[in-house]
């Protein structure tokens, strides 16, 4: 990209060149399987989701009520020293209406995902979850009030998906 350079290296190929054998390649699919442990704070959080409650941790120094909960306050860099529940209602902080899946394939019906600032937590403490029962997606607004829709107790397994989704509410 300098006038002093006349030629830029790189041999462009097309995706179909692989199929047509014009470019040689080796294929590989890694067998990378994982079991991610939830850890101390989130294990407790998930356990409480089974009970239909959202757990937060608190820091006595900065007075923050943090969700998702953690065992250390990243601001004060000290252990959090309390647990409390926050409400399952909140406000949409921001949202996205996705027409693509995780593998970049296309969806007919969009998935709406939102950051929801939960009532009872410190200002701006949100979690990310799905939004549903919203009617027309063009009507979704930042600042809308929402509430969690839980799975029935017998179906809960201690996962973030024990909350089925959040739905708009009128207050």
């Amino acid at each position: 990209m300098s006038v002093k350079i006349k030629h830029y290296p790189g041999e462009e190929i097309e995706t179909q060149d692989f199929r047509e054998g014009k470019v040689l390649f080796e294929s590989f699919k890694p067998k990378a399987k994982y079991a991610w442990s939830a850890g101390i704070a989130i294990s407790r959080f998930l356990e409480e989701l089974k009970n239909g409650r959202i757990l937060a941790s608190t820091c006595s120094k900065c007075k923050r009520i943090m969700v998702p909960p953690r065992i250390y306050c990243e601001k004060c860099f000290k252990p959090t020293d309390g647990w409390t529940y926050v409400k399952d209602t909140g406000t949409i902080n921001t949202f996205s209406v996705s027409f693509i899946a995780a593998d970049a394939s296309r969806l007919k019906e969009p998935i709406v995902v939102a950051i929801i600032n939960l009532d009872g937590a410190s200002e701006g403490m949100g979690i990310v979850h799905w939004l549903n029962e919203y009617g027309d997606w063009r009507e979704i607004k930042i600042g809308m009030r929402v509430k969690a829709v839980w799975k029935p107790p017998e179906e809960r397994v201690g996962a973030i998906t024990d909350i089925k989704y959040f739905k708009p509410i009128k207050e």
């Binding site: 990209m1 300098s2 830029y8 290296p9 990243e74 949202f95 996705s98």
Partner: protein, 388 residues
């Protein structure tokens, strides 16, 4: 002065940026590194240390990509390190190179960034899914486009910004890229084209987004003493800054990247810049999405919060405007081989300040430029200030 030695860039090199390139990652790294050395009028044996920047191993599909790339980056039998701070890697790598030389430990450092995203198919997007928290976010199906959409929406909401104004960035950058010989997605498009393009994750549409790419870039860093020997035209690294925000990204207000501001303030303080919009002649903020250019102009203190769309609308950020932004064509126009794209921005500022940018040359004999990259979970920023 910061550090023991003043550090200059004396050579830069890039490969083509393309969706698929035939060369291996090593071969791309070699081409860029070799070009940077040739431009500097130096040979590999003049190089005392090497820094490589490369994004997640999962793209190239080569674990320990640092060691994999070492020979192509010219690191044979040399002090060597690989750095990785997500999308911010491309500007972070020359910062790491700066430590090497500014510390006085080395007189020369070759900095190489490479990405070969086409190895991961059908789409590298899937490799991104494992960047999210495995317990709370991955079960929701989080993917990269979603989080940008969330951030873009928050930014638009806070300042009441219209999509039309954001689309202007994509139009400008893709047009700027028409004059860039390595560009992958140079085009003359209109705001309507952007607004009518496929909705990926509202408010993000197809033409708001940069592509995935293969490519490499490199720069040669030297101490002041060596710079005087090899060139009459050094470009000085006068400011460096970097910063990370909380990993609890759902706990942050995404409308403003304050970590970009912290990194910028660190770099400006070092460069003695007090009034960035006045003192900076040309800027290359990170633009993987069109709104990101605006977001980063604000974080870089090139304008007030929420004011970047207005400057764009008024043509201030055009190549011939008062503050040219992304004259290279940016990631939106040139392509986005992650770390190589960030370093390409540093190369562009280097060439702009040397007056070698040809058709892309911004008028007014620019003396000071800034390049910036951004990454990890919307939380990392690296900033470099260059001066002639």
């Amino acid at each position: 002065m910061f550090g023991k030695k003043r550090v200059a860039i004396v050579g830069a090199g890039v490969t083509l940026f393309r969706r698929n390139l035939k060369e291996t990652g090593k071969e791309l790294a070699y081409h860029a590194a070799k070009m940077a050395l040739e431009q500097a009028g130096m040979e590999l044996h003049d190089i005392q240390s090497v820094v490589v920047g490369s994004a997640p191993d999962a793209f190239d599909g080569v674990h320990m990509k640092g060691e994999y790339l070492a020979d192509g980056a010219g690191a044979y039998h040399k002090p060597y390190m690989r750095v990785f701070v997500g999308g911010a890697t491309g500007v972070f790598a020359p910062l790491a190179g700066w430590w090497h030389v500014a510390s006085g430990k080395f007189d020369t450092c070759l900095v190489v960034c490479e990405e070969k995203m086409s190895s991961c198919y059908p789409h590298p997007q899937y490799a991104f899914t494992t960047i999210f928290d495995p317990i709370l976010e991955r079960p929701i199906g989080m993917n990269l486009i979603w989080i940008f959409a969330l951030e873009m929406n928050r930014y638009m909401h806070k300042h009441n910004i219209k999509k039309e104004d954001i689309a202007l960035v994509s139009v400008k950058n893709k047009r700027n890229a028409l004059d860039n010989p390595i560009a992958q997605l140079a085009a003359n498009i209109t705001v309507e084209d952007v607004l009518n393009s496929e909705i990926m994750a509202w408010p993000v549409q197809r033409l708001d987004v940069s592509p995935t790419s293969d490519g490499a870039a490199a720069v040669v860093l030297v101490s002041e003493d060596v710079a005087k020997e090899v060139t009459d035209n050094p470009v000085w690294i006068d400011g460096v800054g970097w910063c990370i925000d909380s990993t609890h990204w759902t706990n942050r207000d995404l409308y403003y990247p304050d970590y970009v501001e912290y990194a910028a303030r660190m770099a400006y303080k070092m460069a003695g810049i007090k009034n960035p919009p006045k003192e900076i002649d040309v800027a290359e903020p990170y633009d993987p999405f069109d709104y990101k250019e605006l977001h980063h102009m604000e974080g870089l203190l090139l304008c007030k919060k929420g004011e970047a769309p207005k400057l764009t609308r008024e043509g201030v950020t055009q190549r011939d405007g008062d503050l040219p932004v992304c004259p290279s064509g940016g990631l939106l126009g040139v392509g986005n081989p992650i770390s190589a794209a960030g370093l390409m921005k540093v190369c562009e500022i280097f060439w702009q300040l040397r007056g070698e940018a040809g058709k892309r040359q911004v008028p007014g004999d620019p003396r000071t430029g800034v390049a910036q990259a951004w990454g990890d979970l919307m939380q990392y920023s690296s900033v470099i200030v260059l001066r002639r």
